[in-house]
Assembly symmetry: C2
Homo-oligomer: 399 residues x 2
Amino acid sequence: MEFKFAKRVENAALSAIRVIGEYAVGKPDFVLLSIGNPAYESFPIERIKEMNMKIFESPESCRAALQYGSTTGTDALRDHLKARLAKYKGIDFEKNDVFITSGSGPALDLMPQTFCEEEDCAFVEEFTYTGELLALSTARVKPIGIKLDSDGMNLEDLEAKIKANPKGKYLYIVPTFSNPTGITYPLEKRKAIYEICQKYDLLIYEDDPYGELRFQGKDVPCMKSFDTDGRVIYAGSFSKVMAAGLRVGFICCDKGCFGKMNYCQGNRAPATVTSQMIISNYMDTYDWEAHLDAIRAIYGKKAAFMKECIDKYVHPACTRTDPDGGMFIWVTLPEGVDGKEVFEACLKNNVGVVPSFGFAADPVNNPGRSFRLNYSAPTMEDIEKGCKRFGEVTHKFCK
Amino acid sequence: MEFKFAKRVENAALSAIRVIGEYAVGKPDFVLLSIGNPAYESFPIERIKEMNMKIFESPESCRAALQYGSTTGTDALRDHLKARLAKYKGIDFEKNDVFITSGSGPALDLMPQTFCEEEDCAFVEEFTYTGELLALSTARVKPIGIKLDSDGMNLEDLEAKIKANPKGKYLYIVPTFSNPTGITYPLEKRKAIYEICQKYDLLIYEDDPYGELRFQGKDVPCMKSFDTDGRVIYAGSFSKVMAAGLRVGFICCDKGCFGKMNYCQGNRAPATVTSQMIISNYMDTYDWEAHLDAIRAIYGKKAAFMKECIDKYVHPACTRTDPDGGMFIWVTLPEGVDGKEVFEACLKNNVGVVPSFGFAADPVNNPGRSFRLNYSAPTMEDIEKGCKRFGEVTHKFCK
C-alpha cells in the first residue's frame, strides 16, 4: 500500500550528525568529532556493576526493579535530587517538585505537549540543540531563532522576535556550556532574559545537561534559582555524569504545572527503575561530588588539548569559543566561506564535524559558517588527527 | 504565574486505575484486582541477574551498555526477534523489519504521530486499553468505539463507523487476550476485519503484548501473518514474558513505513541497551520456549482459580469471559445496574476492580456495566478474598 504520512513527518530527513555517521561506515580511518557522546573513560564501570548487583541483594528491591515503576520516579532518587538541587543550585522545593524522565531527550517533548497547540512557536538560539528542533518539528511547533552574541542570545533580537511572534509559548535555552556553541551566559544576561520573558509572560525551558561539567571558571547560578514566578522549567540528566546508557533525566518545575507535565509523559514510562536505583545506590554509597570532580578533570584535559590542536592546525582567520565546561568547541570560519562546501571537503578528508546548518532554526536563510567539534568522545589521538584534518580543509578555504 | 495549558491536557484527569490506587493508600486490607502488572513469580530473577552480570564481563559490552544506543535497537535483539517472529508468528522479513521501543506503551504514540493530524480519528474496541486512549487524547485524535460481540468487534458496526468517519486513519486492536475483556478473535473474524480495512484503505495497529501467554486452546495466527498490503503494524513487548521493569517492546512493520515510524520515536530513545542485552543474552543462553511455558503455567493456574472464585461468589446473573490466556477476566452485570454505584460500593468493600467506563471510548454515552478483574498480579489468597468482596457487592445490586 501507499502510506500517507502526517504532515509533521513528510519531510523528515536524516540529521547532519547521522549523515556523517552513515558516511563513516566502513571507513576505519575516519575520525568522528561529530558525536555528542560522553567519554567512555568517565563511566565508573566497576561501581555501576556493584550498585547494579546491590539491587539483587533483597527480594524487595528485585521486585521494585523488575516491575513497572511510578510515573514520577523512585522516591529515593527524587529525594537525592531535591537535596542536591536545593544545596548546589538554589532551587526552592516548597514551590517546586521534581520527576524523573528517561533521559533529557524525551523530556523535550513535554513542553510542546503541555503548553503548545500546533502552529505555535518557541524561541531558540539561532543555532541550537538538534533534539529540541526534532521535538518542535514532530509537534509542529515553529522554532524562531534568536541571534547569538559571544555571551548568548542578543537581547534586542529576542525582544523584537517575541513582539513579532505572538504565538510564541516558550523560550528554550541551554545557558551553561550550550550545545552546539559551548557558550555560558553570564548572570546579568540570564536575569535580563528572565525579565523579558516576565514582561511578555513567556515560559522558559532551561536545559542543563552539561551544567555539572565545569572545569574552569566560576559557577553561574541557574535561571531556576532566581525564578519567582514559576516560569522556569529546569531539566537535567545523568547521561553526562554517570552513564548515558542508563537513560535517566529529570524535570524540576513549579507545583502548578507538575501534574500536567508529568501527565504528558503518558505511556512513556520514566527511566527504568533499575537505572534509577543504580544512581540512588551510588549516591548512598559513594561521594558524588568527588565523582563529578573526576569527570570534570577528564573533560578539562580533553578540552585544553583540543583548543591547542585547533590553534595549531586551523587557519588563523577562523575564531573559536573557549568553553568553561561541557563537550563542545564552536569554530567559525571567516565571512564569504561556504559552510556546505567546507562540510563536504571535511567528509572527503576523513573527519566528521557538524556544520552549523545542522543546528539552525532557519537552515535556509541562516545556515551559518561554523562547526561544532566534540572533544568528549574521541581519544586524545583522534582529537589531534581530527583537528589536523579539519585544519587542512580550513587552509584550503580561507584566504 | 497562571499556567496556560494546551487544549489536549486541559481535561487531563486520573485514570480509574490510579483513582483506585490512590484510594487504597494506607488501607493494608484493601485488595487490588485492578493493576495490570505481570506476576512477580514469573520474573526469572536469578537468571536476569546472571545475564546482567554477563554484560560486565567484557569491556566492549560494558561500553555498549553504558553508552547511548542505536535508535532502532541492538542487532542482537532484533535478530532474535526476527527469527522468532518468522518461525512462530509467520511474519515475512523480506517485506517487514523490526525496531525496539521502550516498552509497548510508548510505541502507542507512534501511530498518531506518524499517520494522524489533530482532529483525525482512530477506531478502537468500545472498551479498550487505557494506554491507547491516553495516546490518542494527548495527540488530539478522536477514538471511535466499535461494539463488541463475544468474539470481538462487531463487523457491521465497524463498517458503518468507518463509513461515517472519513477522517479515520487506523484501527487499534488487541486481537489476542484483549485488555480489558480477555477476548480472542477467531481467525475468520481477523480476516474479515482485515478485508474491511483493505476496502477502506485503513491501517491496523495490532497490539500483542499478551500473545505469548496462552494457557489453553490453540494459537490463532496474528493479523500481521496474513498481511499482504503492509497495512498491519504489529507491536509486542517483553514486559509480560521477562520483566516489566526492563521496558523493552518492539514494532514490526512494512519497510515502507519503518523509517518514518522510527523517526517519530525522536528523542525518546529505545529501551536501554542494558535491558536489550539482558534479553538477548537470555535468548542466547537459555531455552526461551521453556521459559514461556513456565510463565503460561503460572497464569493458567491463577486464571482457573479466579474463574472458580467468580463462579462461587459472584451473583449468577452476571456473565464472565473465559480467557485462553493473558491477564484479565471481564465480568458483566445484568442490565439496569449502575456501574458507577457498583464501583463505589466495591471501593468501600475494600476491593479494587476497574469499571468499564475507565476503558470506554465514549464514557459518557456508553459507560457499560462491566468490570476488569486481573489475576496475574495478586496472590492466590488475594484472588479469593477480592472475588469474595466483589461478589458480595454484586449480590447487593443484582436481583
